[in-house]
């Protein structure tokens, strides 16, 4: 039971719940800057959880992962996105979320589904983080939901990055992190992806004068 655990293990679970909550806030946000802020907070929460897991399990390489996550996901990429958004003057634009209540309901259903799916995995594990596997899976699926439900490029990129947060969190929760080489590789992949996305934003904006990706359909010479 929860009451018998040491306080830092309780803190891991609390932070995991907050990561899940940050995914929900990402889904509900409409303003571009608010989305980026929520994403930065999610990165910071994941980094904090990783550091606590490192402390709990005594695996020192996890501290490096935590520092990487904090510097990349919580500071650098949000800063990069922020600058792009400012440059393209879309920082005050509100994106509309279609059927916000429906999206939240689907999100809740996804979390329940993840809990159901993760239950057999939980039986195999004995570490404190076994319960957070379901949370990390839901962060992945909620990121996908964000990719599907938004039609603006910036929100989709943030959804993709949050999906990557979920994968990283799953690795930390299930196996105390991936090998260092893989983790470094993934971190730099994400970094490069962020830069490339930035370039793409400009290209999309140049060619269709909007970041609404549903307008890209018009380029494929089918009828309207």
């Amino acid at each position: 039971m929860l009451a018998g655990l040491p306080i830092y293990q309780q803190a891991i679970l609390l932070l995991a719940a907050l990561v899940l909550f940050s995914s929900f806030t990402l889904l509900a946000q409409t303003r571009v800057t608010a989305i980026i802020h929520a994403f930065a907070w999610q990165g910071a929460l994941v980094a904090m959880t990783t550091a606590l897991v490192a402390f709990d399990s005594g695996k020192h390489h996890l501290y490096i992962s935590a520092a990487l996550t904090l510097s990349l996901k919580a500071l650098f990429i949000p800063w990069l996105l922020h600058r792009l958004v400012k440059k393209m003057r879309i920082d005050r634009v509100a994106h509309t979320v279609e059927h916000p209540a429906l999206v939240l309901m689907i999100a809740t259903a996804l979390v329940i589904f993840c809990y159901y799916v993760a239950q057999p995995i939980q039986q195999l594990e004995h570490s404190i983080t076994r319960n957070t596997i379901a949370i990390s899976m839901s962060v992945v699926l909620l990121g996908m939901l964000m990719l599907v439900s938004r039609n603006k490029a910036v929100s989709q990129v943030v959804g993709f990055m949050s999906l990557e947060n979920g994968l990283f969190f799953a690795a930390v929760a299930a196996t105390h992190g991936m090998p260092m080489v893989v983790e470094l590789g993934v971190a730099f992949d994400v970094l490069v992806a962020a830069v490339i996305f930035g370039v793409f934003f400009f290209h999309i904006k140049d060619s269709i004068d909007s970041l609404n990706v549903s307008e890209l359909n018009r380029l494929s010479e089918t009828d309207e």
């Binding site: 929860l2 009451a3 609390l14 995991a16 719940a17 907050l18 916000p100 809740t108 809990y115």
Partner: protein, 314 residues
């Protein structure tokens, strides 16, 4: 016998302290906004003045209009009996069920909405329709938060829940954190504070609570105002005692009761400061944004429920 007396005096304390709590929140607000504040006893003086005035009523007012203030006051007082203020395990703990309390509030709200429409003025009808819209969204959020509590403590009895949280000591429970945030949002919506409704005005087109009681005067108005002050304090005590129950008396001896009294006064003062701070920082939101606010409360309580199931069991 002494237990019953204690339970009775606890309910009396609720009724007597509620205007003081409102005055405290007003005072902090005034300080924060660089205004001179009215005296702390001003709400009592207002109530006395209203009680001594004649009741003016429209010619077409029905019996519902006449009865509503008494029903509201009675329902709110009964809800106050159910909520432990300074001691748990009193004889009234048998009815101290959160769902009973929610039911009393619903009863009071139902009659208030009826009375708002009774006279047939445009404002009353508008206020009733808004109040019911908000209630329909706030109640599921509140119930989900209550169910989260019930799952943590395996009971919907407030006294048992509080004892359970006390016995557990300081545990970081994600479920209780989310239930706490959700209950705060629901409390703000239900007691009609900024950003949902502005309690300080009755001359605004967007008002909700005040629109329904615009036609009331004299002792009727006094009863309704008193009831809404008790309701504000009820939510404050509920939040303070469930999530931060430390200090509440578990045995009925004089010393622990005195400590409990000081503790709850301190907690309510702190809560009042936060409420006033929130009301100063935030602006009243548009009526059409209120559903989003309450959906946030619902989402929070659902996440609380889910995190209890996912993270805390086994």
């Amino acid at each position: 016998m002494i237990d019953w007396l204690l339970a009775l005096s606890q309910a009396m304390l609720f009724a007597l302290l509620a205007p003081l709590f409102t005055a405290w929140v007003r005072r902090i607000k005034c300080w924060l906004q660089n205004r001179r504040s009215p005296a702390l006893l001003q709400p009592y003086r207002d109530l006395r003045r209203l009680f001594s005035k004649h009741v003016v009523m429209a010619h077409n007012a029905s019996i519902i209009f006449r009865l509503t203030p008494y029903i509201i006051a009675a329902a709110t007082l009964l809800a106050a009996v159910a909520v432990p203020l300074i001691a748990v395990n009193l004889p009234t703990a048998a009815i101290a069920d959160v769902i009973v309390m929610a039911g009393f509030f619903a009863l009071a709200r139902f009659f208030l909405a009826l009375a708002g429409m009774d006279i047939g003025t445009a404002f009353g009808g508008m206020g009733s329709s808004r109040e019911m819209t908000i209630a329909a969204l706030a109640e599921p959020a509140m119930l989900m938060a209550i169910f989260t509590l019930a799952m943590v403590a395996s009971s919907t009895n407030l006294s048992t829940v509080i004892s359970h949280v006390l016995a557990d000591g300081l545990v970081l429970r994600p479920s209780l954190l989310f239930a706490f945030l959700s209950l705060v949002l629901v409390g703000i919506a239900e007691t009609g504070r900024i950003p949902v409704d502005n309690p300080a005005t009755h001359l605004e087109l967007t008002m909700i609570h005040e629109a329904m009681i615009l036609e009331y005067s004299g002792r009727h108005l006094a009863l309704i105002e008193w009831a809404s002050q008790i309701k504000l304090m009820l939510y404050g005590v509920l939040i303070a005692n469930i999530f931060f129950p430390w200090g509440i008396a578990e045995t009925a001896d004089a010393l622990s009761l005195a400590i409990a009294f000081i503790a709850i006064v301190f907690k309510l003062m702190l809560l009042g400061i936060f409420l006033a701070l929130g009301e100063t920082v935030l602006a009243k939101m548009r009526l059409f944004r209120v559903p989003a606010f309450l959906v946030l409360a619902l989402t929070l309580s659902v996440i609380g429920l889910l995190s209890h199931i996912i993270l805390e069991i086994n």
